[in-house]
């Protein structure tokens, strides 16, 4: 059912590929893939998993953000004076549209407000880092 919905979201663009639809699909992906570590409210885990709230990692350069999702992150990250170091596994198995959806959701949740990420942007980044 879930897979069917996702498939519809991806294939029937035009009508469903608005930002609101992308956020709705992204929310489901977030719950299945990201929530365990980044938490339901995007606050992360203190000094382990970074928060996704009002940080330049999320709101800033989309290329960097897409790269983190595709390649994962195994680095010490500083956000507002706190350090986060737990590794994030790569999520390259996700389709371009899925990455666009989940990032659009994250960039417009938890108090965040930023532009949508498009599948085409993910495609460009994926091609570059291959």
């Amino acid at each position: 059912m879930l897979a069917a919905l996702l498939l519809m979201g991806v294939s029937v663009f035009g009508q469903t590929n608005t930002m609101a639809a992308s956020i709705a699909r992204g929310k489901v992906l977030y719950q299945n893939i990201c929530l365990a570590c980044h938490q339901a409210d995007g606050s992360g885990v203190p000094r382990m998993n970074p928060p996704l709230i009002r940080t330049s990692f999320v709101l800033g350069d989309k290329t960097k953000l897409i790269t983190i999702v595709l390649k994962g992150l195994n680095d010490d990250v500083e956000i507002e004076g706190e350090y986060y170091s737990n590794p994030m596994p790569p999520q390259a198995q996700l389709k371009d549209q899925e990455i666009a959806d989940v990032l659009t959701y994250v960039r417009n949740s938890f108090g965040n407000k930023a532009g949508a990420v498009k599948a085409a942007e993910v495609k460009v980044v994926r091609a570059k880092i291959k």
Binding site: A36, S43, V45, R47, P87, P90
Partner: protein, 425 residues
């Protein structure tokens, strides 16, 4: 003559009461609200210190002064605090900071203060008052231990025969070929166990030891933050942080609720050569069985690891036991003597289920073995209401230490509060 002697004794006793914090015979007054904690009847608590940063473990000197280890400064600030209560009211009124390496472990042993970074163990020489003689002179005891951004805290303890026991946590969740990746199977054999995922034993007084100088004392331990040497049994006890994400990684085998509750956080009574089974098995506290990990062909029911040591006790999943302390004091009632206090830092890997833990537990012991159910001893650290994500917790218990008067100290690594729990009949 007799009268003079007794007056002198009284004067000395008064002196100790006023100036000897934590010394037997001293009574400190709990805070009116017991520092926000809920405790069993007869116990009280006070905030001894606060604002110390991310306070991890702590240790008390025979004089009742504290050393607290701090992390999270990225080697930019002081990471050891020496705390004194000079007027004996229980509140710290003198604080000195030193040492630049973030880390978790700290312990006073004999005339030395031992402290760990995330790769090394150091020690400082103490004077007769157990004060560090030269805070700029840290002697490196162990160096070059693995730190790969996961389970990096080198928590440790010492025995009474000159040995140091250091946790080297596994830089992995469950030794999958691809760490924390859905469906990825476990490496066979798990290569991490050569250099991590266990407790290593070193000499407490030999400089610059590394892997080749120490020996792997116990293996198959994913990550241990709480460990204590039980002097009654002359044995090392550790608390393992069990694996995460059963549902995320194997959604066909575990639902979210099962994943929030499994596997158990386990207490192990170690001996040389102990194998506790990570990553191949985990302990299921409902089935009371060692279960084959899904990465190694398990389905949540198949048992495994017949040669693997059973835990001494098991606790609910993901609550993160960050300290264990065998209580040897006389301040608390008889039932607490030689039993274990355990500080549960509180979970994050129960989401989307509400988080649990964030309390100090008492585990009764009888004849050297856990006897009877564990009970919550101190709670309320996290604040009121349900904790949905760990960032909501106002305080999280992380370290435990026993004062010379039998007080129990608890450190908090959110805001750096040090609680002191006392018993007044």
């Amino acid at each position: 003559m007799n009268k003079t002697v007794s007056l002198a004794t009284v004067a000395l006793a008064t002196f100790l009461t006023s100036f000897g914090p934590g010394v037997p015979g001293t009574t400190v007054k709990p805070d009116a609200d017991n520092a926000g904690l809920k405790l069993p009847s007869g116990f009280g608590a006070l905030v001894a210190a606060e604002g110390l940063g991310h306070a991890r473990h702590l240790t008390v000197t025979p004089e009742g002064n504290l050393y607290v280890k701090v992390e999270g400064t990225r080697n930019k600030g002081n990471t050891i605090w020496y705390l004194q209560d000079t007027n004996g009211d229980g509140k710290i009124d003198n604080k000195t900071g030193f040492f630049k390496y973030d880390g978790t472990g700290i312990e006073v042993k004999g005339n030395y203060l031992y402290a760990s970074s995330n790769t090394d163990v150091y020690r400082f020489k103490l004077n007769e008052k157990h004060q560090v003689i030269d805070t700029t002179k840290a002697e490196t005891i162990v160096t070059g231990l693995i730190n790969r951004h996961q389970h990096e805290a080198k928590a440790f303890t010492l025995d009474n025969e000159g040995n140091l026991y250091v946790n080297i946590g596994a830089y992995s969740n469950s030794c999958q070929t691809k760490d924390r990746t859905k469906g990825s199977m476990g490496m066979q054999p798990c290569p991490i166990l050569d250099s991590a995922g266990g407790i290593w034993q070193f000499k407490a007084d030999k400089a610059n030891q590394t892997y080749g100088d120490g020996q792997r004392y116990a293996t198959g331990l994913r990550n241990v933050v709480g460990l204590d040497w039980n002097t009654q049994l002359n044995q090392l006890f550790v608390m393992q942080h069990g694996r995460d994400q059963l549902h995320d990684l194997f959604p066909d085998l575990y639902d979210e609720k099962q994943s929030a509750e499994l596997p158990a956080e386990c207490m192990y009574a170690l001996h040389k050569g102990s194998d506790c089974g990570w990553p191949y098995i985990y302990y299921d506290q409902f089935q009371h069985k060692k279960i084959l990990a899904p990465e190694y062909g398990g389905d949540g029911k198949k048992t495994g690891g017949d040669h693997i040591q059973d835990p001494a006790a098991a606790y609910p999943g993901h609550m993160a036991p960050n300290a264990i302390l065998f209580y040897t004091g006389t301040m608390f009632p008889e039932k607490y003597r030689n039993g274990a206090f355990i500080a549960f830092h509180g979970s994050w890997n129960r989401a989307p289920e509400p988080q649990k833990g964030y309390f100090v537990v008492f585990q009764p012991f009888k004849d050297g073995k856990p006897a009877g159910d564990w009970e919550i001893f101190a709670e309320g650290f996290a604040g009121p209401g349900e904790i949905k994500s760990p960032g909501q917790a106002q305080h999280r218990p992380c370290g435990l230490a026993q004062g010379p008067d039998g007080s129990l100290y608890v450190s908090d690594d959110v805001k750096g509060t040090v609680y002191r729990i006392v018993y007044n009949k």
